[in-house]
Symmetry: C2
Subunit: 209 residues, 2 copies
């Protein structure tokens, strides 16, 4: 197996945290170029042009970070990061999906529509020019504010994002906050439960993976 | 258990197709109002203000359609719609996620930023006014074109979206195409394998559920 990686990018970071928590080692192939673009050879190999991507020994390509994480979680059932039992798994899936759609995607929208290196790359995985939309940034910031408020409400009643156990939902929520920082957006100080949780996650060795 | 539903909406449709395929019956509570808005009582009960949402007998709320579908797939393991075996499940998760992010979310972006009934509701689940962005529609159409091209490439080599078996990935991809139609966007005629697949899915009784 080989994992095609752009080590600094936000979705690979979700996977690296996951793998570190599970103590799984995979051979990595770095495909991010010095110009903040994916290497052309990688885009030819995997036209979806996104990272991370896992190549199995039979040549099968598994993309989409959540699919790769679930794959490894099944193969390594100790300390499942998608939960134990049907109800807990549903709550983790719900919060992981929410953290992705309302956190990661909003942070991505903000970053890609402002950073000069992403001019004409307003969307991930595109092979044609997608102009940046300055207006979209206002909306993306509103989405992030709402995401932070949801996390605060949840974390005022729960130790972790999906309940009492650390899970994939914490990883995705944490990486979304880290990604938002790239655009200088941070959760408000008054979200004290969010910050208590954030400090705890940030101290885990996997946060540096 | 009770399922809060807005029967005509795209994400509930994914769930209804899934439940019909699995022959699962759940008590439904309709929460869509005549003004194309969620009923205020529902928004008070579930401030995420999205549908569908499953309320368990202990009062737990499970939102996010993919979490609800996985919950029922686990409880009813006959004919699993998220796959058998680790590799097949990874491929289904990958394509289901892709169909959601590149299909459903693009169709949603297009519809919400054009339809007059959604003025000031440019994002789902918002409690504040989110103005429509006309410029975003051009990008959303480009996203849908790319999604259709990906489906065509995949379906030229596979009977179903994630391979040889019907799965949740077919349901999400089909519902994304149906949702795009609301904005009068349809896959190009030359995508013959996509249309062959579409006709097959459209003939399943679940497509009318």
């Amino acid at each position: 197996m080989k994992l095609y990686d752009w080590h600094m990018a936000p979705n690979p970071r979700r996977l690296h945290m996951f793998l570190h928590e599970k103590n799984i080692k995979v051979d990595l192939v770095e495909v991010g170029g010095p110009d903040l673009k994916l290497l052309p050879d990688y885009k030819a190999l995997y036209p979806h042009a996104m990272v991370p991507m896992l190549e199995l020994d039979d040549g099968t390509h598994i993309g989409e970070v959540v699919a790769i994480c679930r794959f490894f979680d099944e193969l390594n059932p100790d300390m499942p990061l998608f939960g134990k039992g049907t109800k807990e798994r549903a709550q983790i899936t719900m919060w992981e999906n929410r953290a992705n759609e309302e956190g990661m995607l909003a942070a991505s929208e903000l970053f890609r529509n402002t950073h000069p290196a992403f001019a004409d790359r307003g969307l991930p995985g595109a092979h044609v020019a997608i102009p940046q939309l300055a207006e979209l940034c206002i909306r993306a910031k509103a989405r992030l504010d709402r995401f932070f408020a949801k996390l605060e409400a949840q974390l005022s009643e729960n130790r972790f994002v999906a309940g009492s156990q650390f899970s994939m939902a914490d990883i995705t929520a944490f990486c979304a906050i880290e990604f938002a920082k790239w655009s200088e957006v941070v959760p408000p100080e008054e979200h004290t439960d969010l910050h208590r949780w954030y400090r705890g996650i940030n101290q885990r060795p996997s946060a540096k993976a």
